[in-house]
Amino acid sequence: MIFNSVTFAVFLPVVFAIYWSLVNRKLVYQNILLLVASYVFYGFWDARFLVLIFVSSLSDYLIGLQLAKAEKEEKRKRWLGLSLLINLGVLFSFKYFNFFLDSFSILVETFGFRANKSTLQIILPVGISFYTFQTLSYTIDIYKNKIKPTRNFIDFFAFVSFFPQLVAGPIERASHLLPQFQEKRYFTYENANAGLRLILWGLFKKVVIADRLAYSVSLVYDSPQDFSGFAVILATVFFAIQIYCDFSGYSDIAIGTARLFGFDLMTNFKTPYLSTSIRDFWQRWHISLSTWFRDYVYIPLGGNRVSTGRWWLNVMTTFTVSGLWHGANWTFVIWGGIHGLFYAIEKQFEAIKLPKFLSGILVFTIVCIAWIFFRADTLNDAILLIQNATNFTQVFDFQALFINKNYGIYTIIAIGILIIFDILNQQNEINDWLIQQPKIIRWAIYYFLLFAIVFFGEFTNAPEFIYFRF
């Protein structure tokens, strides 16, 4: 069940109505309803994977209790090790087995040996990268004595499977989200309104901007040999906007949906393309993931409290692993590596202060170059695109990148609206700006967004949310 579907449009109001009218009296009923609704939501993707999320939740629930009970450090380490083994083992099996097998086979064949491999025909369960990280953060935080485990089975399972953020985040920390399941939620007009506003804005970004740009991006990236010069550059810029609108749009819908039920999820994006440094970019882009890697990979490796050489290694390790998290392909590893490299280089040259506008352009350019690797199907395609991007011999036809002229014009207008809203909001939520406007202006904006979604939204050829693949 995806957010921009009729099924979800029916599912959400039904769950909302039952939640606030029938089960509102007791906390346990609220949580049971959310748990059931979340399993129904996830089951719509593929009912077989309900077993997986159930087992993953159960193992970390039990391990959490054991971790808190264990007094000896050795025993605590063993329990944590078990949690890591189960969660990362599941992730590895479903996501990375074939990738590492293929890579190992290529390596073996390079040395002249024959690799006899049989890959597993496995479907990647939707959301596995997200919920395994969420449950891992739970057990790691218990190990570090940052939080206490919950004995409440329903609370924990509802926390893991909470449908607004189950399939593509934000990756919530137990210390932030779990306590919200342990307190009764009360309906507030402001929360509900804020939730709907975010959903509307998120849908606009997804179906009006991201899904319309998908056509142009696919046109170039699916046939890299046929395009060069401005076509490649523009397609890459379009992809930068597409992935931003797709993912931040999803996050807005997730956060807005959670608000409808009285939950506060963490902000995942803060106008990342207004960043003036790579470091700044990673404080604004996919914040829930970047902070997860910071807290559970970078800092345990030593962070920046090490020698320069070791610090470089820590940065590169964190970013390349983060790249690998996105997908089982060397293109993602290189994408992460590029960010790590420029993050480290930037630190070395932090004494040099560039004008904000110039550093903004520079950061955006570096990010776009990295996106080429992220979006390209293969390493060869990425290299070909980079080579072609500097070849301006082919005549550039802007209109050829769109289905027709009007389609292109409306897409550019929608991007313009996004830029205006992002500049107005900066790092604030769009809600903060909207509630300051008079009611008539607010409603005019709501109707405009709804009109745009209905009349300009791409529904017939819409691709799925990009981050569902991870």
């Binding site: 009729v6 007009y189 309104n193 027709n404 009007n406 389609y407 209905v454 009349f455 300009f456």
Partner: protein
């Protein structure tokens, strides 16, 4: 909560008015038929051209599913009938459309009667009457086809939803984009056949399973309750035929093996018109089948010759 719900209703009110207004406004037929291009071999586009743009009359019309598209060779029937005639000619046309749904048959008949004056309508029937709404019904239906008199059925909400989105799509194309120009490639209408033949052993296996399934489905509750929709449209078809002095006949065109049993709703059909039962020698002949459901070229020719004798 009350304030929230009140605001939601207030917000949705103009939208609801807009949707009602959209339904009341004209739905452009060219768009409707053209929009389903690439469906059923572009049949929608060709039906529109034959009924609206092509002045050739229609005397005998065949309406049905892909069984009719493949099995009824309208050109052969026309040729055979006209060989016997000295003065006037007979025009035969198949305006069948892929997939099942009696509401679609009604829509096509309405279009047919708007532009032509057929004397005979031959409506395809199968072993079991299908209770679903045709998936393309919302594409072709006009506003008078969506009214509350239609019995509630399993696709009721889906049809209204589809119809709403299609009308929005039409306005979207009209207001914001250039409506694509219709590029029409004329071809032989109606009949579309395949020359290959399915293996006799596969047909035999299918026949056993198929007949057993039909027997099992008889008297099932969901089957009986779903009949209200197709029977509603059958009666409307009959009423339309009577009003326009068109003789209604039914042509039993089942899947392989189905000719050995009567249609389960035979009594209903007989109460509305004559039922044509093709000879078992044709429909049991394993050389005449392209697949389990459809006749091949040779089969269509054999059936065509027999059908010509019925008029």
């Amino acid at each position: 909560m009350k304030r929230f719900l009140k605001n939601i209703l207030l917000f949705l009110l103009p939208i609801l008015v807009g949707i009602i207004g959209l339904f009341q406004s004209d739905y452009e037929r060219t768009f409707a038929y053209h929009f389903v291009k690439k469906d059923c071999f572009n049949q929608g586009d060709w039906i529109y051209d034959r009924l609206y743009d092509n002045p050739k009359p229609v005397d005998i019309a065949f309406i049905g599913t892909s069984h009719t598209i493949n099995g009824v060779h309208d050109i052969l029937i026309e040729k055979t009938l006209n060989e016997q005639r000295l003065e006037d000619t007979v025009d035969v046309l198949s305006v069948a459309y892929c997939r099942h749904g009696s509401n679609m048959h009604y829509l096509i008949l309405k279009e047919l009667l708007k532009n032509k004056k057929p004397k005979v309508l031959v409506l395809e029937v199968l072993e079991e009457i299908r209770t679903n709404s045709h998936p393309i019904f919302p594409y072709f239906a006009q506003r008078e086809d969506f009214n509350l008199m239609i019995p509630f059925h399993r696709d009721y909400l889906k049809d209204y939803y589809s119809a709403t989105t299609l009308r929005i799509e039409q306005r979207k194309q009209e207001w914001f984009y250039e409506l694509e120009k219709r590029i029409f490639n004329p071809r032989l209408y109606g009949n579309l056949t395949f020359s290959d033949t399915l293996a006799a052993t596969e047909l035999a296996e299918f026949k056993i399973r198929h007949l057993a399934k039909i027997e099992k489905n008889k008297n099932k509750f969901f089957k009986k309750t779903g009949l209200s929709l197709p029977i509603f449209y059958l009666k409307k078809i009959k009423s339309l035929c009577d009003k326009n002095e068109v003789e209604l006949r039914f042509l039993y065109l089942p899947a392989f093996g189905g000719i050995n049993i009567e249609p389960t709703e035979m009594e209903v059909y007989q109460s509305l018109g004559t039922v044509l039962l093709p000879p078992k020698a044709i429909l049991n002949n394993t050389d005449y089948w392209h697949d389990k459901e459809h006749l091949n070229t040779v089969g269509a020719e054999a059936l065509g010759k027999w059908l010509a004798m019925q008029f």
